[in-house]
Amino acid sequence: MPKTAYYIPIGPIHPALKEPIRVEAEVEGERIVRVDVKRGFAHRGIEYMGMKRNAIQTLYLSERICGICSISHPYAFVVTAEKALGIEAPPRAQYIRPIIAELERIHSHILWLGVIAHEMGFDSLLFWTWKGREKVLDLLELLTGNRINYSVYMIGGVRRDLKESHIKAIKDAITYYWKFTEQMKEIILSDPVYKARTRGVAQLSKEMALKLNVVGPVARAAGIRMDIRQDMPYDAYADIDVRAVVPQDIVGEAKGDAYDITMVRIYEIEQSLDIIEYCVDNLPEGKILAIPNYPALLAKIRRTKGEAIGAHEAPRGEVVHYLKFDGRDGPSVWKVIAPSYNNINSWAPLLLGAEVADIPIVVAYIDPCMCCNDRVALLKTPEGKVLGYEYIHKKAVEKTRKIEKEVRG
């Protein structure tokens, strides 16, 4: 193979990427010799916006941080806010929250399995897994009214109660997913092509995982037993002894490659099913909101001064929020750390020396979620003058008119 180095830009728009990010790789033949990761293409300044709005608005804003794990950020937000404000959610709400969060974990993990299958060109698996995912999306729609962005959490509780019919639907779905997970294990974990494409790819040692500060399934696949639900439990997770799912418990040793991470994710679906079963069976009676009146809640927030760090174990890893309330009805400081923020750290070391064919798998195996990073678009004249919005809008209109004229003749 020729020894000339090629420069391959992956992104910001590329079929392997579901969200914008840029990986610049220098390639010799099929080997990657230099990597640079550029992020921030989807930075929207959400934290900045949150610091200008009241807490309830910010809660909904936090839901828009990520499109896939849309309940994780609100969960971390309410946990943090309750810590900072000293509110305790009623027991029933504390049991409903994990049900929604775990259902979301199921759909997110299945989504990832489909995506990684697509990345290695295994489209049939993508279609099959996503067909199975429909059921949990339908269930979430039944429970919350939406397939995504559920908007059911509130500081001090949840906004929607579970009815008898909902519980029956949840139980049906659990039975379905026990079977489906069993099939997935059989189909994905024992498929020779899948194994050939993932074994040894994106291999992260335990030491590297610690040093790169990775979180969630990526860290667990490397053999680190870290899981917020286990280390710092909250809500109903405190009653259930959740244990981190690590490959050494399943097959004896942790290799930390893409195959192990698949295994971790599939077994976590089973763990989620267990958690949901427990929550549904032991659902306490009672109210669902500590302070049902929102103006009263905002008044309390205005009166309270406090700060806290809270976390939730999202499907991709831990979501950490820092909130400071300082006499305003919203947070005066809000810092969000999403799992991909840390997990993207692993790209550069893992891609070095890898092959071009491995880029999509390395990129996808952490299940990147770029939404949590934002960007400000600046347009400049060649002299460096920043162009205003009105000017750009005027130019856009002009161009549309011009094209219109060309097309119409």
Partner: protein, 184 residues
């Protein structure tokens, strides 16, 4: 190692530089109440590196976040949050270091030599608040575009802020509606 021992260690190595500390307890669980502990320590900025090294000597920590707050005055309040003894059920102790950084010397030692993964956090703080990290190798912008103007930091609330550069995002919904600018 329990929470008292952690505090002892911090006291021992920092001495007077440990200005103030607080142990926060959170009771979790409905059927079985158990407690989680957090340490919130206010330290002197000169002892920051020492404090981090002490934490690393306890256990290889997990960096939760680095954040900073500029309330428009002369200082930036920095927050570093580490988790130690994680991977034990109910065992993680979160240690939060807080210190003030005067705006006339916004320099901090890097911790990337101890934890390479902290590079992301430090680069973000550097571009968002304008704090220089001594020893940070990669100083390129992380989230902001490469042609971002010098001396503008989005999280600052003083003359280095970006109020004049952003059209809508910093305004509340009410303000936008009032001015009728929401047609964009």
């Amino acid at each position: 190692m329990n929470i008292e021992e952690v505090i002892e260690k911090l006291k021992e190595s920092l001495g007077d530089a440990l200005l103030n500390y607080e142990i926060r307890e959170y009771e979790m669980g409905i059927r079985r109440k158990r407690k989680l502990y957090e340490v919130w320590a206010e330290i002197d900025r000169s002892a920051f590196r020492k404090a981090v090294e002490t934490i690393f000597s306890l256990d290889y920590p997990h960096l939760h976040l680095i954040s900073g707050e500029d309330n428009g005055g002369d200082i930036i309040k920095m927050i570093y949050s580490f988790g130690v003894f994680y991977s034990n059920p109910w065992g993680e102790i979160s240690i939060t270091l807080k210190f003030d950084l005067p705006k006339d010397s916004l320099i901090l030692p890097t911790i990337t030599d101890l934890m390479p993964g902290a590079e992301t956090n430090e680069r973000e703080i550097r571009e968002m608040l304008g704090i220089e990290f001594e020893g940070l190798k990669n100083k390129r912008h992380l989230f902001l575009p490469d042609d971002w103007p010098e001396g503008k930091y989005p999280w600052r609330r003083d003359e280095y802020g970006v109020e004049d550069m952003i059209k809508h995002t910093h305004k509340s919904v009410k303000e936008i509606r009032k001015k009728g600018e929401g047609n964009a």
